[in-house]
Symmetry: C2
Subunit: 228 residues, 2 copies
DNA sequence: GTCGCCGATTTTGTATACAATTGTGTATGT
DNA sequence: ACATACACAATTGTATACAAAATCGGCGAC
């Protein structure tokens, strides 16, 4: 939590700040997000914090339990599958559209994004790298000029970050940059077919890199498991 | 607004009630949703009303303008196209999944839904018919057992209702029931191919029944138009 | 008569106070 | 020693009070 009391926060900016922290794994799944605690951290009242937490709960990044408070969400195995199912429907054809409408300026943005990903990985800032990796996908929807789909992809990408936190199998460096480079090449050639197919494969790779066997809910206390 | 002070409202139920009113065109686009007004209507404080309005704004059914209040959204032509673009990506393949997993119980639900649609049309309850027509689409996602996609489709269907309110060309009875009957037949035969194709065609028909020429924003006061 | 400015009123944004619910710890009885 | 019941503490849910912003009306100037 950036408790800098210098900035002027509102519910949207607090929600964005929290979402980024969750996306970067600074706030891992199941973290309790107390209203008083957050209000003090940001220097605002519970009113604004509550609005932000409600916003995040609508994006399924935060789970609200009545009279118990807000917690960083812990997507189930089933939810994990659903998220990537939805991404598989939305992103490949959006990548095709993006490739067909690609401009040099948009290409530069994507290239800069990949460069930042590499820089973050080199600096051992895994959370930031993961965030930027997600941004790459959202940026593609933006380039495709589909703000509605962009909003869905943005939500799905953030939720994917939670899924990765819970079910990631190989803890090694995120080798996704290869896939992003391949996509970038397709975009350079304005090759919609290739972009669609590469995105499809990229998402499949992501799912297979997860451990989605139906074992009991992970990373939770016995008490929590029984209350579920 | 159901100002029955008998029920106990919370932010979620108020949001659901308002969403249904919007979906049924009882609250047309651009309607001002004053906090005090709603609070009095539901017999609750502004706090709860605000939470409900924020929730609806996240679904893009309500537009919040800072220090000016909440209004039923007026999707632009561009947003209208985007909504149906997103539906075209999500719903056809979801209909295929639903067809492949179809059970007799699920079929019965869909049949009952269509029957209700007819009943509403016969009773000249156009709003209710439109709502039920949307429910048909959401139900398909539910049957496909994809709650994440179901949430997206639910949002898109509600937004489609606003789009229909603004851009519907032929004000005649909603002739969609034909398409829904055809889909039901495909579901009865567990024919995934047919279901996917029928849904695709159905959505295309819907878009072409709209008047999405880039005329100026409709149905708004001069003052509002200038402030935009 | 029209345009522009300024104050009063209305409405939203935020903070705080109070009520309700949940979880925990302790005491007591078996 | 264990289980149960009760009371206390902590946290969320809701209402209300206050502050800030925008709208609307009237007034005056041109």
């Amino acid at each position: 939590m950036d408790a800098t009391e210098t900035r002027q926060w509102n519910s949207d900016s607090v929600a964005a700040d929290l979402e980024r922290a969750i996306h970067e794994h600074r706030l891992p799944p199941a973290t309790k997000l107390g209203e008083d605690e957050l209000g003090e951290a940001y220097g605002i009242s519970r009113t604004v914090v509550r609005a932000a937490l409600h916003a995040l709960s609508h994006r399924r990044l935060v789970e609200l339990r009545r009279n118990r408070g807000a917690f960083v969400a812990q997507p189930s195995v089933r939810e994990a599958r659903e998220v990537f199912e939805a991404r598989a429907l939305l992103e490949p054809r959006t990548a095709r559209s993006a490739a067909e409408r690609m401009t040099d300026a948009a290409l530069a943005v994507l290239e800069a994004n990949i460069a930042d990903e590499h820089a973050a990985l080199d600096a051992r800032q895994d959370g930031r790298a993961l965030f930027l990796s997600g941004r790459f996908h959202v940026e593609i929807a933006r380039i495709a000029d589909q703000s509605t789909i962009e909003a869905f992809v943005s939500e799905l990408v953030s939720r994917s970050s939670l899924i990765i936190a819970l079910y990631w199998r190989r803890r090694a460096a995120l080798c996704e940059t290869q896939a992003h480079h391949a996509l970038l090449d397709a975009f350079r050639h304005r090759d919609g077919d290739a972009a669609e197919q590469l995105m499809n494969g990229h998402l499949l790779d992501l799912v297979t890199s997860l451990d989605l066997r139906n074992v009991a809910q992970p990373a939770t206390s016995l008490r929590e498991a029984l209350n579920r």
